[in-house]
């Protein structure tokens, strides 16, 4: 490994301004060094700031504190020599494959012959021969992302940034693209010297990266760095591979337990309503509870195993698991999800009983639900406007998060029948039609 890094990220932080003028920190104290020949993975869930970090490196945004250095020069605007592959491909629909790939070269004002030569070379390299005159809409997702790769490579960058490049593709296509990319990479046929890959797929990170940075949320930060020294090509069934995957799961769940475990609300009336709640439907919650309660898990599930069984990515699985933990239906520890007594009771109960159990857990462990109910109980009319709670929540979070949190509470409250909500008039009430 060379001593001089291609890229150096020093103590970078990023914050946005909230409507009330306060700062909202989305990324804090991130350090990173990318050396020649390395693929670094940024692994984390949505909201962990990994995509934000990628945009800071790309020069599409500026850090609030700290600095990104590319070849020793601070990044200030999009740098020549860093290019990017996007999750949604970001192809220009009105340009053909050829024109899309050539665009970056046209911006550099190269001679036309040179543009043509390099464009065709990139198209050839990435396996798009014969598609030059096609428009993106005529292509499958996999082919579109190939155009994305060709477009990024044609400018001969030193660093390739990839923002969840395979997550919009189906499983088979994604695997083909990954393999093709790794082949080109290990054969040294691409002009790039280093890669940063953003992903929320643990297996993908272990499969492709030499070093994986695990990100945590609120605010986004690096929890740990894991070196992957397995030789390429890697085998997903290799015990060493499985062990690494398991380790990352443990790493990611370790930080989650404790922090968000439910706290009995009656001890702290009106406290703790400030946490952002994920918009998880009661169906997803009962679905996961049932899956964990059933064979072969019988109340205790290994997360990598159940993720594979249910074909859920961590981005989908973790929020549900965390919500179960918050409601004290399950414990999340050491990469395992274990049902509590309430969780088992819920899984075995019939609909009405389930609603009773859910209502009890909701009012006991979710301060905001208890707060809404208390406000409704205290008022003679048993009616409260939604905006009242939005205002309260906005002291702690952004407008969007407040909206999402309240939607989550409305969904759970309706299911548990602890309060009702009328969308037309945007009011909470206690009038259940039942």
């Amino acid at each position: 490994m060379n001593a001089v890094p291609l890229l150096r990220v020093d103590a970078v932080a990023k914050s946005f301004e909230k409507p009330d003028g306060q700062e909202l920190l989305v990324l804090e104290g991130v350090n990173l060094q990318l050396f020649e020949g390395q693929i670094i993975g940024l692994l984390g869930r949505s909201g962990s700031g990994k995509s934000t970090l990628l945009r800071l490196i790309a020069g599409l945004a500026t850090p609030t504190r700290g600095q990104c250095n590319y070849l020793g020069v601070p990044v200030d605007g999009p740098a020549v020599g860093i290019s990017m592959v996007f999750q949604s491909f970001a192809l220009f629909p009105w340009l053909t494959v050829y024109e899309n790939v050539a665009l970056g070269l046209e911006a550099q004002r190269l001679a036309r012959a040179e543009i043509r030569r390099r464009t065709l070379a990139a198209i050839d390299l990435i396996g798009l021969d014969g598609f030059e005159s096609a428009y993106p809409r005529e292509l499958s997702g996999g082919m579109r992302q190939r155009v994305g790769f060709a477009r990024a490579l044609v400018v001969h960058p030193n660093i390739l940034l990839m923002d969840e490049p395979f997550s919009a593709l189906d499983v088979l296509t994604a695997e083909t693209l990954r393999t093709d990319f790794l082949d080109l990479w290990s054969e040294g046929r691409m002009p790039i010297k280093g890669v940063i890959l953003v992903t929320h797929n643990i297996e993908e990170a272990v499969l492709m990266c030499d070093r994986v940075l695990v990100f945590g949320s609120n605010p986004g930060r690096v929890l740990s760095a894991i070196e992957v020294t397995l030789p390429q090509p890697r085998n997903r069934l290799d015990p060493a591979f499985r062990e690494l995957v398991e380790r990352i799961y443990v790493e990611m769940t370790a930080r989650m337990s404790g922090v968000r475990a439910g706290v009995r609300t009656e001890f702290f009336p009106g406290q703790g309503i400030g946490s952002v709640l994920p918009h998880i439907s009661s169906n997803e919650l009962s679905g996961l509870l049932e899956a964990v309660a059933a064979e072969p898990f019988r109340g205790k599930a290994d997360l990598p195993k159940i993720a594979t069984d249910l074909q859920m990515e961590i981005d989908e699985l973790f929020p549900v698991a965390e919500t179960l933990q918050m409601l004290r239906f399950a414990e999340l520890e050491g990469g395992d999800l274990t049902l509590t007594e309430a969780g088992v009771a819920f899984a075995n109960a019939a609909l009405d009983e389930r609603k009773r159990i859910f209502a009890r857990q909701l009012l006991t462990y979710v301060p905001l639900a208890a707060h809404v109910r208390r406000v409704l109980d205290e008022r003679a009319s048993h009616v409260a406007r939604k905006s009242r709670f939005i205002d309260e929540l906005e002291d702690f979070m952004t407008e969007d998060d407040a909206e999402q949190t309240l939607r989550a509470i409305i969904g759970w409250g309706r299911y548990a029948e602890v309060f009702a909500y009328e969308d037309e008039s945007a009011r909470f009430t206690l009038e259940n039609p039942a």
């Binding site: 020069g59 999009p78 990017m84 949604s88 220009f92 970056g104 428009y135």
Partner: protein, 578 residues
């Protein structure tokens, strides 16, 4: 297609910017007052102007039609230039947008026909060649009927360019100039084209109305279909009127087939989101052009020109040899100058308005105008209600039968584009012949051209309704009135509101030509604000023209704000399927 229209056409209804609206209203009316003032003194020397001799012989109609079409083209080019600059300015500067967007909204509500008279005189005074001045005035009138909604649509597009495309453009170092032509304009094209088409269909009405204008003793008749029909009315020539109607129909048909069908087919490629199952609209003309070498040679040339301008513009800062940061520090002074400038303009406009209106207006006059406004409003309300009662069931019926809809939809769009004022003489002839009550029988003319907007929007809504929903209703044996109440009407609601807004706005404008009509020397008049403005125009009484326009403007704005906007909001929230 229909989705794109609604998303863009009324997107402005989403913001409530009342403070700015007031300012915009003042400035818009102030400019009208200023133009009136400026043109009043210039009226005398122009009164000697002779109308260009026109002939009613059908042989001349092709030439007249060509002149009329040319005017439309010129106005469209102007509108496009306006759209690209105004909308871009508003989208790039949040400070400017605060004022520019409400101003656009107000301008949309100004009854164009009312101030044609003012602009005719103004432009004729500006340009030494007399005919040229009148041409400018006509083109300007068409421009004012086309530009606003196009600018709105483009502004809306500019603000909704997908972030990842913007990021891609930035990370590949596109300069602002390249980004404008290679990202922003292409992205806005589909919505812009649709709005151009809507503008055009509205424009025919105004081109006909603006070609032959008499203000006081000045009368101008530009060679064109509008003047031809005016002459036919004067000479009570029913045959000539028939010829004019036939020619106009043909022109619109050719326009549609040769210009807009191909454009819409072509523009389909610029759609970012492809809705599955949506066929790009077929156009024989487009197929022909795509296969023709000449045309493809021309397009290559055009793209080459676009590339060349990108080439010639300065490269992105990061790509310059020295890499020296060329970022200019933003001048802070704007923060102070801008409000001051705005304030000055508003103050000037206010003063002008006060001078024109209040200095010479008695309270009684204001009351009269108000009552007339209420009369016209009553007409518009009743007519829209009647048209809805008729066309909503018909539209639903047609929309649910794709085969029928396929035929009727283009027909309805054609009828909406057809300038209804060409048909007025027939109605007026009937009213005169049978001695009908003009207050009652002139009214339908106001909605003659605009009712089709209701029809084709409802058809679009009914055909967009998911067939599974209809099957589900069938399966549950929902029928009769219950079916209308629970299935059909809610399903087409957002579409209906869109159509009704357009129809109502158009009817106000049409009032100016519909409430006062003539057949030869016979005049038939309905009581209303439209007739008031038309009378003032004929008398060359600018003071009353401005008063009438201002009142109508206030009526339209108030109705939009108090009725249509909340209704649109409600329909979008409650009945939008997605």
């Amino acid at each position: 297609m229909q989705r794109a229209i609604r998303n863009h056409q009324f997107a402005f209804l989403r913001d409530f910017a009342t403070r700015w609206d007031v300012l915009a209203l003042i400035v818009a009316l102030g400019v009208v007052a200023f133009l009136a003032e400026a043109s009043r003194g210039l009226l005398a020397p122009l009164s000697q102007l002779d109308a260009t001799p026109l002939s009613l012989a059908p042989v001349h109609l092709p030439v007249y039609a060509a002149r009329t079409t040319l005017r439309m083209f010129a106005a469209m080019v102007l509108s496009l230039a306006f759209t690209l600059s105004y909308a871009t300015w508003a989208a790039k500067s949040a400070r400017a947008a605060k004022f520019l967007i409400p101003l656009l909204d107000i301008l949309q509500s100004v009854p164009i026909l009312g101030f044609i008279s003012i602009t005719v005189v103004f432009f004729m005074s500006l340009v030494p060649g007399r005919v040229l001045g009148a041409e400018f005035a006509a083109i300007f009138a068409i421009f004012t009927s086309q530009a606003w909604n196009m600018a709105f649509s483009f502004y809306q597009s500019l603000r909704t360019v997908p972030t990842e495309l913007e990021e891609a453009a930035a990370s590949f170092h596109l300069t602002p100039w390249m980004r404008f032509w290679q990202l922003e304009v292409p992205f806005g094209l589909p919505a812009l084209t649709w709005n151009m088409m809507m503008s055009m269909s509205g424009g025919w009405f105004f081109v006909v109305a603006s070609e032959s204008i008499s203000v006081g003793h000045t009368s101008v008749a530009l060679p064109g279909i509008g003047s031809y029909i005016a002459l036919a009315i004067q000479q009570r020539n029913l045959h000539a009127i028939g010829w004019a109607i036939a020619t106009m129909g043909l022109v619109i048909l050719v326009y549609d087939q040769l210009l807009f069908r191909p454009l819409i087919g072509w523009v389909d490629r610029f759609r970012v989101e492809q809705e599955p199952g949506m066929e790009p609209p077929a156009s024989w003309a487009l197929t022909m052009m795509r296969r023709s070498r000449l045309i493809s040679g021309l397009t290559v040339l055009f793209y080459g020109a676009v590339r060349w301008t990108s080439w010639a513009s300065a490269p992105h800062a990061a790509l310059r040899p020295q890499g020296a940061p060329a970022r200019r520090a933003r001048w802070r002074g704007w923060g102070l100058i801008w409000p001051a400038l705005l304030l000055a303009v508003v103050a000037l406009a206010l003063r002008k308005l006060a001078q024109t209106l209040f200095a010479q207006t008695q309270l009684a006059e204001l009351r009269t105008v108000g009552v007339l406004g209420l009369l016209t409003m009553a007409r518009v309300v009743v007519l829209i209600a009647l048209a809805s009662l008729l066309w909503v069931p018909v539209g639903v019926w047609i929309g649910m039968r794709p085969r029928v809809a396929q035929w009727v939809q283009p027909l309805a769009q054609f009828l909406a584009a057809f300038p209804a004022n060409l048909l007025f003489p027939l109605a007026v002839y009937a009213i005169v012949a049978w001695q009908l009550n003009p207050d009652l029988w002139l009214s339908p003319l106001m909605i003659l051209g605009t009712q089709w907007y209701i029809l084709f929007n409802v058809i679009a809504g009914a055909s967009a309704m998911p067939s599974e929903l209809r099957r589900a209703a069938q399966n549950l044996r929902v029928g009769g009135w219950l079916w209308w109440r629970r299935v059909a009407l809610p399903g087409v609601m957002p579409y209906f509101v869109t159509g009704a807004i357009t129809a109502s706005g158009g009817s106000w404008n049409a009032a100016i030509v519909a409430e006062l009509a003539s057949w030869g020397a016979t005049k038939v008049r309905a009581h209303g604000l439209g007739a008031y403005i038309a009378d003032a125009t004929a008398a060359g009484d600018f003071h009353h023209i401005v008063l009438g326009i201002a009142t109508m403007c206030l009526f339209v704005v108030a109705i939009n704000r108090l009725f249509w906007r909340p209704l649109y909001y409600y329909a979008e929230r409650r009945y939008r399927m997605s």
